[in-house]
Symmetry: C2
Subunit: 370 residues, 2 copies
């Protein structure tokens, strides 16, 4: 049995999304249980709550507070110690659940998860990993998406090892390829940190810790050149949000041009099913559920604006990760890579990232036509 | 009279593109002259060469060598001293031309231009600035696009000042707004360099050196939140290439879905004019011509794969810049901002960027449907 703790209050829509998604998830996973964490009066206000509560594999856990999308990390961490987010993560800490899922504020979730669960040995900074659709029909796992800025080569190696464990656990591709995001394919290109990271990743590849492809460029994310793309959180966040902006612009241009006059509107009616198919191939909802990696427990972040379909995908992702022992796999890989990680310790000491660095990764990358 | 030196041999297509573009440019600009730089035998091989040579406002300048797209910077700089690229830049140095345009290899062009023309006083590193279309119907000027990695806050300030001069010269918007690319809007977010750059840009804004909007995120580039977006070359290059990858993926998805069967093909025929209009709005060719800023002379880089239409746009851009005294405007703004630029000199000395950092910015961002 896989038990998942759900922050039922998080995200832009709270119970309106989490309750129907939880019901659907339970119907589709006979060996899953849910711990629904939230404020009883709010939960009760939803028409389907009674049905969910009556479900033999769902149990309610009370939380008196809610971290809002605008709450600062300080408030989430120090003032709202009984928030649904925190209580959900506590279930993982206590061993009551194998994973927690929240659509709440990314910065707050990362800070709370990090505070409650702590990082794994060998990991300085947890990272946020998400999947983006690619042209070869699969998805590229990208990390870090913004939890960390000013990364050292050591951090990038940790991200590569953790990302490899994630993809190996979820896709059953045991040797996923890793690309290092750079501004050219040649090893000589890039910043000082990237050049050193390239050497480190090559060493890790030689010692069997990962399958390093080499440097990749921004376009390789969507080309699907490698299974994993590793980058500094600053760069990853800019790439994600730039993509969001471009997809939004293309979507709005398509909408405008098809709305121009009666003829273009008629063309729009004819083209609609085809454009819907295009949209569906890039549907960001299918890829919802970013993993917070490097913690001593599994936590998944749903997009804040996720609908029930998307939130269920995040639950699925947490379920898959728990069922495939992601935590143990990350731990094993980190342990195996320990000599390299230790080797890098001769470099300047790593300073823990201040929580104020943590940022939102809520980027609606692929919603071009709405 | 505005005189432009054209590297007729550069780019993927050389004279096939540069000769027709030059003819079209001369027809459209009665007060422009061109210096066509290249190897006579190759120029002569083009059917329109005789017509161009006979043009009263075109003159040929011999160059015995060509920098190929694959030539290393070292070869371009040290072995091919009589390349069409170098000779074109020399025309600017000598005062024979007010600007040079080349579709050749970006790294080589930057290195040659920097070597021949030198940087302006107050500028440590030249930057590459390009325009990207935005959702508000205009274009956002982004710099740096990859000439510089590991930028300091000082460099980012220089980019902001130079970008402001560029937009002021070309668009006649005298106080273009500047956004600092970051991973959140709040001043507290970002890397150490970005935070310091934010302070510096605010000071520059207070002293009237620029119109600083504040931090922007990746999606703001295509939203058109500010006229200018300033970033480290690493980040700018990743953002540009990621956009290229996404646009390519969307384009290929649209193509695949419309080619699926006879019905979707018919829908494609109906939708074609509308999708062409969308494509035209994002036509990267219209924005061709990146400025190399910070040099003691005007140099513009055309996309390597530019066709004649696109190459003519790059010529137009160089012409506009020369006619609107871009060089003097950059110089004036740098001089005005000198106290701030000097103030930052107490920071660690800036090391000139090794030429090996220079990378290609040839990203075909907006060619979604071909």
């Amino acid at each position: 049995m896989i038990r998942i703790a759900v922050d039922a209050m998080g995200g832009d829509f709270g119970v309106v999304v989490t309750i129907p998604a939880s019901l659907a998830f339970l119907s589709n996973h006979a060996d899953a249980e849910l711990l629904l964490v939230g404020q009883t009066p709010v939960l009760q206000s939803h028409a389907l709550y009674a049905q969910l509560l009556a479900h033999p594999r769902c149990r309610m856990v009370e939380a008196s507070e809610v971290v809002t999308m605008d709450d600062s990390i300080e408030i989430a961490l120090r003032r709202k110690k009984n928030s649904s987010m925190r209580v959900a993560v506590n279930q993982v800490k206590d061993g009551s659940a194998q994973a927690a899922v929240s659509a709440g504020n990314t910065g707050a979730l990362m800070a709370v998860a990090r505070y409650v669960l702590k990082t794994m040995d060998g990991i300085d900074r947890p990272a946020i990993a998400t999947q983006l659709p690619n042209a070869v029909g699969g998805a590229t796992t990208v990390l870090d998406l913004g939890a960390n800025v000013d990364c050292t080569e050591d951090h990038l190696l940790q991200f590569a090892v953790m990302g490899s464990a994630l993809v190996a656990a979820i896709s059953e591709n045991l040797t996923p390829s890793v690309g290092l995001l750079n501004i050219g394919e040649e090893a000589i290109k890039g910043s000082e940190v990237i050049k050193k990271a390239g050497e480190l990743l090559r060493s890790a590849s030689n010692s069997g810790d990962l399958n390093f492809y080499g440097n990749v460029e921004g376009n390789d994310i969507f080309k699907g050149t490698t299974d994993i793309v590793v980058c500094d959180g600053f760069v990853g966040n800019v790439a994600l949000k730039t993509s969001e902006g471009l997809a939004g612009m293309i979507g709005s241009f398509i909408k405008t041009e098809f709305s121009r006059n009666i003829f273009t509107k008629m063309a729009g009616v004819v083209a609609y099913p085809v454009l819907s198919a295009v949209k569906s191939r890039m549907d960001h909802r299918r890829y919802n559920g970013a993993a917070l990696l490097g913690l001593q427990g599994l936590v998944f972040k749903s997009h804040g604006s996720a609908d029930a379909f998307a939130f269920e995908r995040a639950l699925n992702r947490a379920y898959d990760a728990a069922r495939n022992s992601l935590l143990e796999k990350v731990y094993e890989r980190i342990t195996h890579a320990a000599p390299l990680l230790v080797m890098t310790k001769v470099l300047p000491a790593v300073v823990a990232v201040p929580t104020s660095y943590l940022i939102s990764t809520d980027a609606t990358v692929f919603a071009p036509t709405h």
